[in-house]
């Protein structure tokens, strides 16, 4: 399916989506509260069947005070791929978990929690993945500072 057809199909699924510019593949922005329903439709709809979640990560837009969650999806059956973006406020970072749809999301969401402090609703086992449980702060946030880190001398 090429990008226009895909976008049309997505629009029928969820009218509230908008195209996110500046991406190298079709990228759509979904309102956070619609994310869960939209994602499960993406996986289950026969014409779409996004069965593999390649990557899930977050971007810290500190200037705009928001996190952008990125889901990179692809369909092994149809061969098309899609980027789903969700904006959540930086001071109350809560998003629905998609780990019941793609099982790998359980780990990827744990990593995002670990690095950005995004909390996932209905996640089966939300805890730090790469850092110790008692680590303070979320290192991939742009404003993360600790005494240990060394800045590169200019």
């Amino acid at each position: 399916m090429d990008n226009e057809k895909l976008l049309a199909a997505l629009k029928t699924l969820e009218p509230q989506i908008s195209v996110r510019e500046n991406a190298d593949r079709l990228a759509v922005t979904v309102p956070c509260e619609r994310l869960g329903a939209f994602m499960s439709k993406l996986k289950l709809e026969n014409a779409l069947r996004f069965d593999i979640l390649y990557a899930h990560t977050a971007i810290d837009w500190v200037a705009e005070n928001r996190f952008e969650l990125i889901y990179i999806l692809s369909s092994l059956e149809h061969g098309h791929s899609l980027m789903v973006c969700v904006s959540i406020p930086r001071d109350a970072p809560v998003a629905p978990s998609v780990s019941s749809i793609w099982r790998i999301a359980e780990w990827q969401e744990r990593e995002v929690y670990d690095m950005f402090g995004v909390l996932y609703r209905d996640h089966p086992d939300l805890r730090r993945l790469l850092l110790e449980d008692d680590w303070q702060g979320f290192p991939l946030r742009k404003d993360y500072k600790d005494d240990f880190m060394l800045e590169k001398p200019q």
Binding site: L131, E132, P139, Y144, D146, F148, M149, L150, E151, K152
Partner: protein, 211 residues
């Protein structure tokens, strides 16, 4: 065995002529320790491939130096080869491994990461910049990763240190760490001094490549 290494010198010291005997004993013991360095099966990243695996494989064959009996349990190992980056989370575990080893125990640190942090010095919130704060290091082997030959040089350096250094009277005493790639009798400080002077002359003489 504490009997020979600790008690024996105490009993023998008053006896005249015992120092010759103890000296010979030293030599034999140090010879055996130097020639039987069993490493712990431990590697964290890239260096493990070169230092633990390729060095033990057919081409390089660390067995020639008697150091191929990799023990999976720290209790039976003599040599802790820290091959690869050590991060904050691993450091306490590494210390535990070191504590679990039986004396005499030696540490070789291989690779830039455990010497200084290597490519992960700046902007890393978890990579340790050097191993010296965690365990005492006997020999450093620089490289990213070091070649197996460099590791052999490290082992030979350690063997030399053991043969020269450790005595029955002072078992397991630590020396200042040594950089394996250094010529004999040279210290890290001297090298740094030399580097500084080189930098100065480079500035003064303009482009060294042309002149």
């Amino acid at each position: 065995m504490g009997l020979i290494t600790e008690k024996l010198p105490l009993y023998l010291d008053p006896v005249p002529g015992s120092s010759w005997f103890l000296g010979k004993l030293d030599e034999v013991i140090n010879w055996s320790r130097a020639n039987s360095l069993w490493p712990l099966t431990f590697g964290t990243s890239c260096c493990a491939i070169e230092v633990m695996m390729a060095a033990g494989a057919s081409r390089h064959d660390v067995a020639r130096f008697g150091a191929e009996v990799a023990r999976p349990s720290p209790r039976q190992a003599d040599l802790l080869v820290v091959a690869g980056t050590i991060v904050k989370r691993m450091a306490p575990r590494l210390r535990t491994l070191y504590e679990q080893m039986a004396e005499p125990r030696y540490v070789i640190a291989t690779g830039s990461c455990v010497i200084s942090g290597g490519p992960f010095i700046y902007h890393s919130y978890s990579t340790l910049r050097g191993l010296d704060g965690v365990v005492p290091v006997d020999v450093y082997v620089p490289g990213c990763p070091p070649r197996p030959e460099a590791y052999f040089y490290g082992i030979l350096t350690l063997q030399k240190l053991i043969k020269e250094g450790e005595t029955v009277r002072r078992p397991g005493e630590r020396r200042k760490p040594v950089l394996a790639a250094l010529p004999a009798g040279m210290t890290v400080d001297q090298i740094q001094e030399e580097m500084r002077s080189l930098l100065v002359t480079e500035k003064n003489s303009g482009d060294r490549r042309n002149g």
